[in-house]
């Protein structure tokens, strides 16, 4: 072979190799970054930065969880017995409450006496629990500092409250968000599947060539509309409609999210299902008709079974899209991080949470990491869906 030719071929191969490697590695690094940041959450507690939790030196409790701290300061937990201590009433005190107990004279100029006053107060009050900025902590503080337990995976996944702004310790329970995501997606798929399938069947089997040539591009066009536009439509049209129809206080509900998502995933479902239906070989249809089967019998007994895996793939891809969708859902679901009981309640999905909160989460902080951990959950969900698609697609009769 001509050496120049060989050289060019080598270069081409090198370029192709490098670009594919760079792409793969970049994608992998993104995933890696996601996991690194997200898993970091389980390495820390959720107490605010520069804040310590102090108790009386006699208090036997050695560690408590962030959730308990939040409950204590909310006065949901009122006795040390409930967190493994003595039978003693809990007296939660924030720094403001502590400072308010003393006169200006006592505090001295520039609060210079505050640290010792706090120490004395804590030492004299057996049931106290105080959250204090570490700058107001005496160097030789004689009270007891309680370390907060690290956030556990179980606590994160099954916790029923997501309150990143709780004081003094934030609460990160992803369960309502996971449920919210699943509810909205499930609702979307329940709506989109029958409609999408019927449309796909109509387009591939019933509609005339000319009508299909108009309908198909229109449906494909739908998938090109930016999701924020769908969200806007949902907000302006659907939300008031739902509010009026079901006589609700607010129209921003899981149902609104499901409907918007259903509309958004319809093009995916219709296009893929229609393609699958149309891949049924003409020979099979003719074989069925030639045996005396009617058009509908052929559809039900031959075409749909043949396209089954494609149809299932369409559905799962539709769900996949719904699960990851952010903007439209953020705009219409109301974003209340509560566990939903009906479709007519506001819910909050994982992507919406990340989008809404990332801007106000301090870089590298606990909240920041918690959002990344949510990202991991989402990643795993979509990963599962995509794997399912692959398995279903490759499975043939």
């Amino acid at each position: 072979m001509n050496p120049l030719k060989r050289f060019i071929e080598k270069i081409t191969r090198g370029v192709l190799f490098t670009s594919s490697m760079v792409t793969s590695v970049t994608v992998l690094l993104v995933v890696l970054f996601l996991f690194k940041e997200g898993i970091g959450l389980f390495n820390q507690n959720s107490v605010e930065k520069h804040l310590v939790i102090a108790v009386n030196s006699e208090n036997p409790v050695s560690a408590i969880s962030s959730t308990d701290v939040k409950s204590i300061f909310n006065q949901d937990i009122t006795n040390w017995k409930q967190v493994g201590g003595k039978d003693l009433e809990i007296l939660p005190r924030s720094i403001d409450e502590l400072a308010a107990q003393f006169t200006e004279e006592q505090l001295g100029e520039g609060f210079k006496n505050l640290s010792s006053l706090i120490e004395t107060y804590i030492l004299e009050t057996p049931g106290v629990i105080a959250s204090i900025p570490d700058s107001y902590l005496k160097n030789d503080f004689k009270g007891k500092l309680i370390p907060l337990k690290k956030i556990s995976l179980k606590e994160f996944l099954t916790g029923t409250e997501w309150i990143p702004t709780a004081h003094p310790a934030a609460v990160f329970g992803a369960w309502p968000l996971i449920l919210g995501t699943l509810w909205v997606s499930l609702g979307a798929i329940l709506l989109a599947l029958p409609i999408g399938l019927i449309t796909a069947i109509y387009m591939s089997e019933v509609a005339g060539q000319r009508f299909r040539n108009i309908l198909k591009p229109v449906i494909e066009l739908l998938s090109g509309i930016p999701s924020v536009v769908y969200g806007f439509f949902g907000l302006v049209v659907l939300v008031p409609l739902i509010q009026k129809l079901f006589k609700l206080g607010v129209g921003e509900t899981a149902l609104a999210g499901s409907i918007v998502l259903a509309i958004m995933s319809l093009p995916t479902i219709i296009t893929i299902a229609e393609d699958a239906l149309r891949t049924t070989p003409r020979a099979l249809k003719e074989a069925s008709l030639a045996l005396g089967a009617s058009h509908w019998q052929t559809l039900v007994r031959v075409i749909i079974p043949y396209a089954k895996s494609g149809i299932i793939a369409a559905v799962i891809l539709g769900i996949g899209r719904a699960v990851g969708e952010t903007m439209a859902v953020l705009m219409v679901t109301g974003n209340a991080s509560v566990i939903p009981h009906t479709f007519l309640e506001p819910v909050r999905t994982i992507p919406a949470t990340i989008a809404a909160e990332l801007g106000e989460a301090p870089f590298g902080g606990t909240h920041f990491k918690a959002l990344f951990a949510l990202g991991i959950i989402l990643f795993i969900m979509t990963f599962v869906f995509n794997t399912l698609v692959e398995t279903v697609k490759t499975k043939k009769i």
Partner: protein, 252 residues
């Protein structure tokens, strides 16, 4: 009993502006094999697909003329097309079994025609597979997918599938063209067997095959039925020069 199983009268057929069949007149007697031969695009498959109205599926087909099967007008308004197709079996060029089990493939025609009696279906399926000379090869794997069979076995399965609904007429569109010589031989033997019970019309590109299996041969050229006669006469003493040229391999 009408004299002819199949009778075609003055059939003209157009795809849009293109005339695919020109004034076709043809008859087939019961329990005979008629072979349609001719170069590609001569209209022989088109004519075959008229007998079970498969051309209904194609947009832009217009025709004039009549076709009678067992003396009944195929295109009469009162004709139930699904019923017609049940009584006119068709075997296609490429084996096209359904992606179902071997048993279900053969039972399909019965099921879609509303037969629910399990025992009857089983009896018909076994009988059809036996008639198609496939029984010994598949009797132990009726519940296996038909896609696991070889091409030749699949084609015999397709024939069995057709036989199960007991058609009056069997159409075969180059049934052996996608098969190896051994499978082709088996299909030809089978056609010879089936002749005792059925009337068969077969489209083939293979002149030797037409010579081996058919009683009558019809030669088509550019949409015209040039001539048809006893196979022996067509192959030894054709009356039209075009037939002679085709038979002797000068074109086509």
């Amino acid at each position: 009993m009408p004299e002819y199983k199949v009778e075609v009268k003055n059939l003209d057929l157009f795809y849009g502006d293109f005339q695919a069949l020109k004034k076709i007149n043809f008859t087939a007697e019961p329990n005979t094999v008629s072979a349609f031969i001719g170069p590609s695009g001569c209209g022989k498959s088109t004519l075959l697909r008229m007998f079970n109205r498969m051309n209904d599926l194609i947009d832009g087909v217009r025709f004039t003329g009549e076709i009678y099967i067992d003396g009944k007008d195929v295109f009469a308004k009162s004709v139930d097309v699904d019923g017609l197709r049940k009584s006119v079996g068709m075997v296609f060029q490429k084996p096209n079994p359904f992606p179902k089990t071997i048993f279900e493939n053969v039972a399909y025609g019965l099921r879609v025609n509303g037969v629910n009696d399990k025992h009857f279906i089983e009896k018909q399926v076994i009988e059809a597979i036996k008639k198609a000379a496939l029984w010994d090869e598949v009797k132990d794997k009726l519940k296996k997918s038909a896609m696991e069979l070889s091409g030749g076995q699949q084609q015999r399965l397709c024939i069995a599938r057709t036989l199960a609904v007991e058609p009056a007429l069997i159409l075969m569109d180059e049934p052996a063209s996608a098969l190896d010589p051994i499978s082709t031989g088996k299909i030809e033997d089978l056609i010879f067997e089936l002749k005792n019970q059925y009337t068969i019309i077969i489209v083939t590109h293979n002149l030797q095959q037409a010579g081996r299996i058919s009683d009558y041969t019809a030669f088509f050229y550019l949409g015209e039925l040039v001539e048809w006669n006893k196979t022996k006469i067509i192959f030894t003493n054709p009356s039209d020069i075009r037939t002679q040229n085709y038979i002797t391999g000068r074109f086509g």
